[in-house]
């Protein structure tokens, strides 16, 4: 049988008063330090300048086709996690450095193998076709992704206006470049102006969006104001920002990342989990705001729409 003997506490077990008081003092100080830290954090946050975005609401926007019902990425993430190397190579740089970027007046020149070359003011572009909201997945080559309610219309509407000739087989795009407004660009390590390109049938595909806004408003500067392309089945760098020139051409045009590193970035750059970037896997992606990575879908989940464009093509060769 187990006998439990009561342990008598003697005077010797009493915590000395000095230690006891020290413990109290210590706890009080700890609480004080914690409180000071909390107050400090509050003050610090109050003192930090809130970012101001010069965007305006777009009216008369209708729901467009092809929208996903996936959860949209918070606006703050889409506006503070950007690759726009003209305004710095850090993800948070463009939100700061593009703040005073002048996007008005803004003219887009459409030229090359077309019957009716045009120079369009941004106001004309906004009225060229009914504005649609299209909620697309957007997958960056760096293995993160977002879901964005873009606003715009199919690029084909613009193309039809200028009437490409039968010689036009590709479309070349160019981003505005002004070293005075983009002093960070010199350090980016890629050539500017930024250029991109699509095959004509890719450009004319109804999914391909000429984009003027997002989340119900005009585009913030860091997201490519005032007008950009959105090609949702390709890696994000194909969706060129702050467009000033569109040329319909005979031959495959040069593209910036392909010029910078041809082994890593192909002309097509379709989202493909089976073809890794030489330095990292493309099998999974991190959706901003989610903790676990999710599998990447071929053509970023737009297979039904676009797989036909590449039938018979070796996607490993034409990456």
């Amino acid at each position: 049988m187990l006998v439990l003997r009561k342990q008598e506490l003697t005077n010797a077990d009493v915590t000395p008063k000095r230690v006891y008081l020290n413990r109290r003092k210590f706890l009080a100080r700890l609480a004080l330090a914690g409180g000071a830290l909390a107050v400090g954090r509050k003050l610090w946050n109050l003192a930090r300048p809130a970012s101001v975005l010069a965007t305006t609401k777009l009216t008369g926007v209708v729901k467009g086709p092809f929208s996903t019902d996936e959860k949209q990425t918070p606006y703050n993430d889409v506006t503070h996690y950007n690759n726009f190397y003209e305004f710095g190579t850090g993800k948070e740089d463009p939100a700061v450095n593009a703040r005073n970027f002048r996007t008005s007046p803004w003219t887009v020149s459409i030229e090359g193998e077309v019957k009716k070359p045009r120079k369009l003011e941004i106001q004309e572009i906004l009225k060229l076709a009914p504005l649609e909201e299209r909620i697309y997945r957007h997958r960056c080559v760096e293995a993160w992704s977002i879901v964005v309610p873009w606003i715009g219309y199919s690029f084909s509407a613009l193309a039809r206006l200028v009437e490409p000739t039968s010689a036009a087989r590709y479309v070349a795009f160019e981003t505005y470049y002004d070293p005075a407004q983009m002093p960070q660009a010199g350090y980016a390590g890629i050539p500017f102006p930024y250029v991109e390109g699509l095959r004509l049938d890719e450009a004319m595909h109804p999914l391909t969006l000429l984009c003027v806004g997002m989340y119900g408003e005009t585009l913030p500067n860091q997201d490519g104001a005032p007008v950009r392309m959105v090609v949702p089945w390709k890696y994000g760098f194909k969706s060129i920002k702050s467009l000033v020139r569109i040329r319909f051409v005979k031959d495959q045009p040069p593209t910036t990342w392909n010029l910078a590193s041809p082994r890593e970035y192909g002309f097509y750059s379709n989202v493909n989990p089976n073809v890794d970037h030489p330095r990292w896997s493309q099998a999974k992606e991190r959706r901003l705001g989610e903790f676990f990575k999710r599998p990447t879908l071929i053509f970023n989940g737009y297979t039904d729409q676009v797989a036909g464009l590449y039938s018979g093509m070796d996607l490993r060769k034409y990456y």
Binding site: Y81, R279, S281
Partner: protein, 216 residues
């Protein structure tokens, strides 16, 4: 200055100072201010601080000799261990938060992605240095052998900078800055070695007998 540096209390503020980067990360975490991609941000922050502490550790001997502050040596072990501490955080972030213990994927990364291969090597090289950083191990190995082993930090630092250089997409300013500083710190040692050899040639060969506190 040397008397301040030899104060036994100075190690405490230096220790706390070395924890500031982690504190800042925690602070931003509490604010939900770790950017839109917190895991990437933590990975980059801990990686940056690993490299910075490696360079700071490697700067101790040159500073000590050029500034005539031998007491700086007292902080070298702590600084080196902080480099290892941030390297562990960096590695844990990668294994846990980025790969979620998918060891097959980690192995694929280490084998296939050269920037991860070299980064992993840089981390592995630090482990024996951290283990043998105690006075007991210095005694057990003997000053000379201990010193020889701890030259692995040069290799680890070079591998760490290459890891960073290979990771960056196109803007190489930061990795090149680290490479430049590391180059200077290593060149200083090379210079000392060549110069020291010339100075000692002809003189009676007196082997260095580094004391436990002065191994440099």
């Amino acid at each position: 200055m040397n008397s301040i540096l030899s104060s036994k209390w100075l190690k405490i503020p230096v220790f706390l100072l070395c924890l500031v980067p982690l504190g800042a990360l925690g602070w931003r975490g509490l604010d939900g201010d770790l950017t839109a991609n917190p895991i990437e941000f933590i990975t980059h922050a801990t990686g940056d601080w690993t490299l910075r502490f490696l360079l700071i550790t490697l700067a101790v001997t040159p500073l000590r000799k050029t500034l005539g502050l031998p007491q700086l040596i007292r902080f070298r072990r702590m600084l080196g261990l902080f480099a290892f501490f941030y390297a562990c955080l960096h590695f844990t972030t990668y294994i846990w938060l980025d790969k979620f213990f998918d060891l097959a994927e980690v192995w694929k990364d280490v084998a296939l992605r050269r920037f991860i291969t070299v980064g992993f090597a840089a981390f592995l090289l630090l482990i024996p240095l951290a283990i043998t950083s105690t006075a007991g191990w210095i005694r057990r190995l003997g000053g000379r052998r201990w010193q020889l082993l701890h030259r692995l930090i040069y290799l680890s630092a070079v591998a760490g900078v290459v890891h960073y250089y290979w990771l960056v997409k196109s803007d190489h300013r930061m990795p090149l800055t680290y490479a430049g500083i590391l180059g200077l710190l290593l060149a200083w040692r090379a210079g000392l070695w060549i110069f020291g050899k010339r100075k000692h040639s002809g003189a009676a060969a007196v082997p260095d007998q580094p004391t436990t506190a002065e191994t440099g």
